[in-house]
């Protein structure tokens, strides 16, 4: 099958959505600039015109309110933030209006907006250019939150998000943009709220999200060589969460490791552990573990981030410990000299 990069898959989803529905519009700072938000919005203005694809002032809160207002009258706006951190300026509109309007007005309004937020890690993005704040949005009833990992999921989930009648926070990890996968042509949808099983095993359940799923896949390849086989569930949707698949897996393996791209305290990964303890207590053979960022702002210097981010090596070590084995991830993985703060040799910054 044809392979596309994650960023190309996003671009294709836009193109399909805008072709099939004239009410879909795309805006945000820089969506029509020469870089096209890491390539994700390139060419859209040329195809669909400046009324439907446009740059905006640096007014995140108003622009979000404008998306909500337009959506109340039948438009399906897709907003893009080149960094999730900028969306924090629009929390009032997202939480007080977008998330509430359907419920608060007795079901008479729908708010079909999609807000893309790009998160990241490495290359010194630092405290305010790489925050993974999915848990904040997951805390808000009325929002849906998705975090695709593969190009295939990115396309199908973006199309589902755009045509969902509820506000959807669409979180893209910058380190996934260059990742390729099989992507069918044409329109297809992935149901929001359905996870994806990446691998099967009886030893342990790993529940992961977004970029951490990539690290988990690498870790599982190494673990297999030591005859350790895990269920790897890529949640894809943070809200609603596919609890059925997670509980089913934990009841089978009895062990749970959750991976998070964000800080551990008050996180999605903590919430998964809480729900599993509540629903699968008698099946648990070991205490659940969580691999997440330390409870501190993201530092900038490469010497500091080296110990801040979680990698395949750390996954191997924690899985090994949970199973009473003695593997050393750092000895088992050869990164071939690739620095820890880039996703691959394609990435040379600056953002």
């Amino acid at each position: 099958m044809r392979k596309l990069k994650f960023s190309q898959a996003i671009n294709e989803a836009f193109e399909i959505a805008m072709q099939i529905n004239p009410n879909v519009i795309c805006y945000g700072l820089g969506v029509d600039d020469p870089k096209g938000v890491f390539g994700t919005t390139l060419g859209l203005k040329e195809k669909f015109g400046k009324d439907r694809v446009f740059d905006t002032p640096a007014s995140e809160n108003a622009m979000t309110g404008i998306a909500i207002g337009a959506s109340l009258n039948g438009i399906r706006p897709v907003m893009t933030h080149q960094r999730l951190d900028f969306s924090l300026l629009s929390m009032d509109q997202i939480i007080n209006n977008a998330a509430k309007f359907h419920f608060m007005f007795g079901g008479q309004h729908t708010v079909p907006i999609t807000i893309r937020m790009i998160t990241g890690r490495g290359w010194g993005q630092g405290p305010t250019h790489s925050q993974n704040l999915q848990s904040i949005f997951a805390h808000i009833p009325g929002l849906k939150v998705v975090m695709p990992t593969t190009a295939y999921d990115a396309k199908g989930l973006l199309l589902s998000s755009i045509f969902d009648d509820n506000p959807v926070i669409f979180i893209e990890h910058r380190w996934l943009h260059n990742l390729e996968s099989d992507v069918p042509e044409g329109d297809y949808r992935i149901e929001i709220g359905k996870s994806k099983k990446i691998s099967d095993g009886f030893d342990l359940t790993i529940v992961s999200m977004s970029y951490m799923t990539v690290e988990a896949i690498h870790a599982l390849e190494i673990l297999k060589k030591s005859d350790i086989h895990c269920d790897l569930i890529d949640i894809r949707s943070v809200k609603p969460m596919d609890w059925t698949t997670i509980f089913h897996s934990v009841k089978k393996t009895g062990r749970l490791l959750t991976l998070d791209t964000g800080v551990g305290q008050g996180s999605v990964s903590s919430d998964i552990i809480a729900e599993v303890c509540h629903n699968c207590w008698s099946s648990l053979k070991a205490q659940p573990e969580r691999l997440s960022l330390p409870d501190m702002p993201t530092p900038t210097s490469p010497s500091l981030t080296k110990h801040f981010y979680r990698r395949s090596e750390d996954i191997i070590n924690i899985v090994s410990k949970m199973l009473g084995k003695d593997l050393d991830g750092y000895a088992l993985i050869d990164r071939d000299g690739l620095p820890h703060d880039v996703p691959g040799d394609w990435f040379k910054g600056p953002f």
Binding site: N61, M63, G69, L72, M104, F105, H109
Partner: protein
């Protein structure tokens, strides 16, 4: 034509006053169990502006929203039922006094966060433009809303992109108990400051409903013709406390003298006298209009009182549209 307009405007003013004062009377029965911000004294702006709008034009409002809802033609039975928390309320009992809606007359909603609906109006105006419609979208807010960042963001965007929005600032001098003097520089008029952003502005006496109507009609005409946003500031005064049914001139943040000064400028009495002087209407016609409205309002309260409360069962399934 003008005769009918004036009578309709009077009806709006009297209906708002009657609803608000009936709420004040009945609030201490404690059946209306939500924060309630009354519009008594400020009827002139709501009635005058909405009289200048068409039925299919859109309106948003803020926490003090009753007058705007009623002036746009919102169903008062559903409004009172909403304040009573009943299932027959305009928001099915989920919103209360601060979250009113009547889509059938273009009243798209009111919200409680200061400035919160200002960008929504610009968004609806954007959708109107994309659909090549000629509708005008109006948003009402108070003098404190111009202290919010989203106000500047929205005006800037609306001007830059020529969005057909009517921004109405009701300057009633107070934000809760905080006077303008602690919030905005002395001798700086709001409308003049806003004009600096590049939007067309005007200002007027909010307690003269006819002046409000004429300025609004003029603005709405320009918005439709030129596809531009316009900002209007009207001075007015809230008679009762910020939130609740009582008067609060004794607690120290404003004076009885100031209140009486503004009460002298009662927009309802002013307009009633004007219609009588102009012989648009006579005393017996006024009494007949008032009696009809009082009956309608009483019936709305009875309806609200008699309606059922919503059931909690299953309500969690109403968070998302499916």
């Amino acid at each position: 034509m003008e005769h009918t307009l004036k009578i309709n405007l009077f009806k709006k003013l009297f209906k708002i006053r009657t609803v608000e004062e009936t709420i004040a009377d009945k609030y201490t029965e404690w059946e209306m169990r939500c924060p309630t911000h009354l519009s008594t004294g400020q009827e002139g702006v709501a009635a005058g502006v909405c009289q200048a709008l068409e039925d299919d034009d859109f309106v948003f409002s803020s926490h003090r929203s009753h007058a705007h809802y009623i002036a746009k033609g919102g169903d008062i039975r559903k409004m009172i039922a909403e304040i009573y928390g009943k299932s027959t309320g305009c928001s099915a009992g989920r919103g209360g006094s601060m979250h009113l809606i009547d889509k059938s007359v273009g009243f798209l909603g009111s919200t409680s966060i200061v400035g919160g609906t200002i960008p929504l109006a610009a968004g609806v105006a954007l959708s109107v433009k994309l659909k090549n419609s000629s509708q005008v979208t109006c948003t009402f807010f108070g003098d404190a809303a111009v202290e919010e960042g989203v106000f500047y963001e929205t005006i800037n965007y609306a001007v830059t992109n020529k969005l057909p929005v009517l921004f109405i600032c009701e300057n009633n001098l107070y934000s809760v108990y905080s006077p303008l003097s602690v919030r905005q520089p002395e001798n700086r008029n709001i409308f003049e400051m806003v004009e600096g952003i590049g939007i067309s502005v005007d200002h007027g006496n909010g307690n003269d409903p006819w002046e409000v109507f004429e300025k609004s009609r003029n603005a709405v005409g320009k918005i439709r013709e030129l596809q531009i946003p316009i900002f209007l500031e009207f001075s007015t005064y809230r008679w009762r406390e910020h939130c609740g049914p009582f008067f609060d001139n004794d607690i120290g943040y404003r004076t009885e003298t100031e209140f009486l000064h503004w009460k002298e400028k009662d927009p309802l009495q002013f307009f009633e006298n004007m219609l009588l002087e102009q012989r648009v209407i006579d005393e017996s016609q006024i009494q007949s209009i008032k009696a009809g409205i009082i009956d309608e309002v009483n019936e709305a309260f009875q309806f609200a009182h008699d309606s059922d409360f919503p059931d909690f069962t299953g309500i969690q399934n109403s968070v998302y549209h499916s």
